[in-house]
């Protein structure tokens, strides 16, 4: 790695407040994990946008392929009986 290198890329995830899920915020370049965390704080949390941060080497992210999205998610898309709307309730009865 030369001094002029842009360094490895890290994906940054922020938790907006306690109890919320972590969401992808963007990425930073950093020489190691510790610096990635500091850079992520300076770039993505200058105004209290996060109470926690995750940084993950971009190369470690495994993603589904958009071109296969149809068949890949199909097992979850054809099961109407997994939704409450599939079930009939007698008229006038409040179930919830």
């Amino acid at each position: 790695m030369t001094a002029d290198s842009q360094w490895p890329l890290w994906e940054v995830f922020t938790q907006g407040s306690k109890g919320l899920p972590f969401a992808h915020a963007g990425s930073v370049h950093a020489v190691d994990a510790e610096n990635a965390l500091l850079n992520a704080r300076d770039v993505y949390a200058r105004r209290g946008e996060a109470v926690n941060l995750w940084v993950v080497p971009s190369s470690a992210i495994v993603a589904s392929a958009p071109s296969d999205a149809g068949p890949f998610f199909d097992p979850g898309n054809d099961k109407a009986y997994r939704h409450p709307q599939f079930y009939k309730v007698p008229r006038g009865v409040v179930v919830f």
């Binding site: 290198s5 963007g26 990425s27 020489v31 770039v43 200058r46 105004r47 071109s67």
Partner: protein, 322 residues
């Protein structure tokens, strides 16, 4: 994020499917198939935008050491730091298209990249800091609010983040101008003089007129742009004229009139020759801006070298320990 898709061929069936997605208002994500031309246009637009944020730190950075009060100095430092952050958000968005940031930075330092023409004008007085926040960031908000709905997901998300922060930039600038406009005659004259200098260059920020904007048609069709340069410019003028009046200042345009029929403020002719000169490298400060960027890059080399050496040392220490 690494772009793992192989070199795409612009297969007409794929282009048709892509255009149908755009027409349906879907957002395009990094790993989605996209026409090579869409990728190139976005890389061009986003990298120019990122460069503009980075170079945009320079005109105002000029006044940090001479800010007239601690309050103004704190605002100015925070604003300039935000601009660096904005540059990083957009460089990171551009990288999702499969370009290296390193490559983009080198294009800027080599003088091969374009950036917003406005930053090639000098900041001659402290009131320029106010006028830049008010007009330049104000123009950027008009532009970026629409770009927040652009079809490319990472660019749109970066714009949403940026727009929130730009509001602080504009407010602190307007407050500064309002303060000077109510001040001594010398302060009033100072802010009026700044406004006179920055008004026309601010209008040029929206880019060439629609009659002379070769990229616009395609960018609008792909919903990269959602409004034309002239539409955005008109919106900016309509928003700004009442603000100028509220401060009791004037604009350097004798042709500025309100058109009852359209509800628009009609403005005089923009000096497009000046615009062309400035974007092709002959503005008042093009040379100075690039020299300052190169110096900052070279002066920071020891920091990059130290961080790299430190990481290597820690990595080898943990290998030995294992």
């Amino acid at each position: 994020m690494a772009n793992t898709t192989t070199a795409p061929h612009d297969d007409p069936a794929l282009v048709a499917a892509f255009e149908a997605r755009i027409a349906a208002g879907e957002s395009i994500e990094p790993k989605d198939w996209m026409p090579e031309r869409y990728r190139r246009q976005l890389t061009r637009m986003m990298s120019q935008h990122a460069h503009s944020e980075i170079v945009g730190m320079l005109p105002e950075g000029n006044w940090i050491t001479r800010a007239p009060s601690l309050r103004r100095k704190l605002s100015l430092i925070a604003k300039v730091q935000d601009e660096a952050g904005h540059g990083l958000y957009i460089y990171c968005g551009t990288e999702t298209l499969g370009v290296d940031r390193h490559e983009l930075v080198n294009q800027l330092l080599d003088g091969k990249a374009k950036y917003s023409s406005i930053f090639n004008y000098p900041t001659l007085s402290f009131s320029d800091v106010g006028v830049i926040g008010w007009l330049v960031d104000g123009a950027a908000i008009v532009n970026q609010t629409i770009l927040a709905k652009t079809s490319y997901g990472p660019y749109a998300r970066a714009m949403i983040r940026i727009c929130k922060e730009e509001n602080f930039h504009k407010r602190q600038g307007f407050e500064l101008c309002a303060h000077l406009a109510k001040g001594t005659p010398a302060q009033q004259a100072m802010v009026q003089e700044s406004l006179n200098r920055f008004w026309w260059p601010s209008l040029m920020m929206f880019g060439p007129s629609d009659t002379d904007s070769p990229n616009s048609g395609e960018l609008l069709r792909w919903k990269v742009k959602r409004k034309t340069n002239d539409e955005l410019r008109q919106r900016f003028v309509n928003l700004t004229v009442p603000q100028v009046q509220a401060l009791g200042l004037t604009l350097p345009d004798p042709d500025l009139t309100f058109d009852e029929a359209t509800g628009n403020w009609t403005f005089g002719a923009i000096d497009w020759d000046e615009f062309q000169q400035v974007i092709s490298g002959n503005g008042p400060c093009n040379h100075e801006r690039l020299a300052a960027r190169r110096k900052a890059h070279n002066d920071g080399e020891w920091v990059r070298a130290a961080a790299t050496a430190y990481a290597a040392k820690r990595a080898s220490a943990s290998t030995e320990a294992a």
